[in-house]
Subunit: 338 residues, 4 copies
């Protein structure tokens, strides 16, 4: 079984089918097509509001970096966790897209920002002191890089603090579906109702081929034309956008993205339980589709001998990622075989 990454999974058949259906006749390029129009209506239902604009890109890095580039000026900084994907795994994309903005790193367990550290960082901002780079954005990740969730109430509290100091709030939701399922929250509760200005809603890990939505809410919509211009100059305005819209539509229809996230979360739960049973020690709570676990060497070797794929993680543990194709029953069978 392959627990290396949820991006190694195939796409859900509904996504492939939707691409086939989209492939009929001529259609306006660059988002002017019917499917994109229909997607907007679906999104309005999913988000329980019409007060939004959105753009589609093929990678999470593009999604985050573009969103941040309209929220943070080149002379500003972005508060984020020191293990955030935007800091660790995007090769400087936020710095590139913002034109040289900075990331200001905050600590906290589970890759969740520590409230006191956030408070101190916010208190420290001095716009009038030209030598230092003032924070302009708070970026949260849900699921975090350690597979933990922020509940809507936590996001709302952090957003409130940030906004009191004039910061915009960005949510990196590459695994938002997994977080929603765990929290039992609606997309609306997790985003605009909690004070999020821009969410990067990921569908690729959830089961699309490559489709991430950048969604701007409320006042931040004033930045939408700039977002499009920046998307264009970054090469993130592919001509035949109907095929991206088709993916998103297929994933959102009937809550497929949430159903698939639940499957992968369930598989992760079963996996965690089983790994603990055979001597593993969880180093993070399992709140989504990822398991971070310390394993005795012989157990790790035995799992690999049975064909399991998984990566070591900084700090001496292993990361196991379940995806929408991972079945809890297969996980149990694997573990029983040990």
């Amino acid at each position: 079984m392959d627990f290396s990454s949820d991006t190694s999974a195939p796409a859900h058949p509904a996504v492939i089918e939707a691409i086939g259906w989209a492939n009929t006749g001529m259609a306006a390029s660059y988002g002017g097509d019917d499917i994109t129009a229909r997607l907007r209506e679906e999104l309005a239902r999913v988000l329980e509001t019409d007060d939004f604009d959105f753009w589609m890109v093929a990678s999470g890095t593009a999604s985050n970096a573009l969103a941040l580039s309209v929220l943070c000026p080149p002379t500003g900084s972005i508060l984020c966790h020191e293990e955030a994907h935007i800091e660790r795994d995007e090769r400087g994309a936020p710095e590139f897209f913002t034109g040289g903005g900075k990331l200001s790193l905050l600590p906290g367990p589970g890759a969740k920002i520590d409230a006191a550290a956030l408070g101190a960082a916010l208190a420290n901002i001095d716009e009038a002191f030209v030598h230092e780079t003032p924070a302009k954005v708070l970026s949260l990740t849900n699921l975090t890089e350690s597979g933990c969730v922020y509940y809507p109430g936590e996001i709302a509290r952090f957003a409130e603090l940030a906004k009191a100091k004039g910061l915009a709030v960005h949510l990196d939701g590459a695994r938002l579906a997994n977080a929603l399922v765990t929290c039992g929250a609606t997309p609306a509760e997790m985003t605009w109702k909690a004070g999020v200005d821009a969410v990067c809603l990921g569908l690729t890990k959830a089961g699309a081929i490559g489709c991430e939505l950048i969604i701007l809410f409320g006042d931040t919509r004033a930045k939408f034309e700039e977002l499009k211009a920046r998307a264009k100059r970054a090469g993130h305005m592919p001509a035949k956008m109907r095929f991206m819209a088709a993916q998103a539509e297929a994933m959102l229809a009937g809550g497929l993205w949430l159903k698939l996230a639940r499957q992968s979360n369930d598989a992760a739960g079963a996996l965690a339980e089983g790994l603990v049973r055979i001597g593993g020690e969880l180093v993070q709570p399992v709140e989504g589709n990822e398991v971070f676990v310390r394993l005795p060497d012989d157990i790790a070797a035995a799992l690999r001998a049975k064909g399991a794929k998984f990566y070591p993680w900084p700090g001496g543990a292993y990361r196991f990622v379940c995806n929408w194709t991972t079945r809890a029953s297969d996980v149990e069978a694997l573990l029983k075989a040990l």
Copy 2:
């Protein structure tokens, strides 16, 4: 009939099928999959060499800007035609990706660079004069923005001049298939054999969903790791790359991309002939799948009344673009109906 753009066309069924076939089981992300490996072999056959590296992106703008960013330093400039896509239609992407490099514009009919102007620009380079931005790259477009071709011999001549002054040679081949068909040239003759260091080989307009290949040849391969790093930080390293490789494989297999380009070129030929017959005046030679034509107002109106879609072009003419779905017989029927 819709002559608005070849990017409004659907994808070829073989591309859709290939995506379906690619959707089986887990596969390594970021280009580590089997299809990408197979594609490399196919490309070696198509290019008649193994001395290349390649990357895939979803848009022509990304393709050009990334290629240029490894060829041109931020303190250098890129020689290109004043109507080149990279100057006119990419919203400053080359400037963004190069970190502030400049474009230096050259004139010439048919959006082809005038040889004398190129010679003068090259003669003018003075690396020692720090105040001016020295040209570091020559960028050619084939088909040009006016639908004209450079023959391999022309490219070779320009490349030789450029290289004598230390410039790298970039070829924007968003419509390379159309040019190849017209010239009766092989991809090798049009690229590395002619001195091209980096080609952006477009498959999207030719019939893919969204797939453009950046190919580095020979010594320029030394820049490949930098290219990948820049692709990553620009968000152009989508996780599930197998689906992009599948598109490319389907398009290249059996020369499908060339076959489809021939169809669209043929349709354009028929269209041009027909439009001239009914009073149109060609403003550019028709050497690919595009027709630039001045039309009497009543004729233009009558075409639109029959359902034809086409755009006005700067300078008072109209642009008609044929795509792989445009059949010469349909074009003839339309014109006969007038």
Copy 3:
């Protein structure tokens, strides 16, 4: 005699003295000192308004690029003459400081923008067409790169056209004093009264060591904090700013900058007259301190033999630049000696 450049001239003794006077005791860094405060008052008198903010930098390139960076977003372009200093002689500084903005070049004799070309460029702007880079700034240079002047009425007319399309107006005034003297205009008439939003008022060529003022007027003052932040991150916030303020104060006091500009203009007038007399042919009208002239080879050689220094200029002419130390009587003596 050295006609190579007005930047090869020494500083006026009053500037040196002012630096000496400024060198007393401790003073707040970064512009918080008394001399900078006094300079603001002097500037208010010179500019006949208090509705401005200003910053000081040591080079014209820094001055232009910083000013442009608060007027033009990375997704916008700057309309300027194709021979403008910002295009030809600043090594891509505007592209660098704006984060990848473009320059859009306009033709016109005397390095003055042609009104019809400006009109066409402005008419062409289509904000809604995301693929093209819309112009956001009109940049004028006075004196132009060919030593010609814009009269305040011309600037006002161009500014009005530009503002009707939402553009900001920038004036590169590296040789503003020379232009003012020729036009008999006040600084106010040439800048804010004519619709200029930001002027780079040069004092270095006029006789300072290195001091250029960036002045923002009216609504553009809202960008002043951003300007300072950008100055800081570009290294253009030297600690001991009192010494720069002292230079500016010395140059402005009693209209010294204008007096010196008149001297250099007068010398250029005498030089032009003399060069024509001995067979030269002016290729530009002499409207400031520069003479662009075609010379018979033997005359050029004879001048050089007499110790005159001057540079060839693109197009086959020579450029002679007079500076504040060039005396008309010396010029006449030199020419008589031929």
Copy 4:
């Protein structure tokens, strides 16, 4: 007495005089003058080598950012202390000049990088893993932001570790003179002999008006033309460079910069001793011209009442900076008066 900053101090009279002497007749612009040529010879003596190139800029931020921009590509990162000036006080200049490079922060007392943390960071570099930003430069600051010194042996050890992993070594020497005096080291021992590739040798705080030298050694000289091009496009190539060279020459002549640094170090020593005597508690060892000290509130108030100026510092202490005009005897008089 004003202990707010060494940048609030005046320039040394020898610097002012040198500017006066430099102000004679015409001189080639942009560093082509005689004084700059003479300065090179003086520098060769000071540095005990001829294997270097140098450039002059007016601010420390410009100096660091330019040096770093030729050492670190946009896809790389710079290892530095988490309190380094380049991280805290330069408003994102390194990110701007490198085109979006990152800073990777390391801890350590006294704002000196902890050796174990450096070792771990170096061990962590994985060039092949495209998602993470590999470190390309180690940047050290001497004096550190906490007024502590690195001895040449420490620099050599860190440089050796860094170079073993292919990193370049940058030394921010805004207060290098103070460090040299404390260590009893020569400039050569502290820089190229210790493995430093590029040093920013500061003269402004030491007593100049505004003059910082960027010096490239050995193989790094290959980057000198790029450095100049970047200086030009950043506006750091002021025309009348002779006046900057004159400052440097005056400061270096006869070791004036070191003599003045010794004075300020001595004053800081006296100050530290006195402050401890009256109840202060040093929070950093005093190894240069800065004193970081915790003071009882009544003592701080009494000092202020006597006219002393000093700033609070993050962490609850105060920073006192002595400069070349601060006399140890005055410091003692002040403290005795309490």
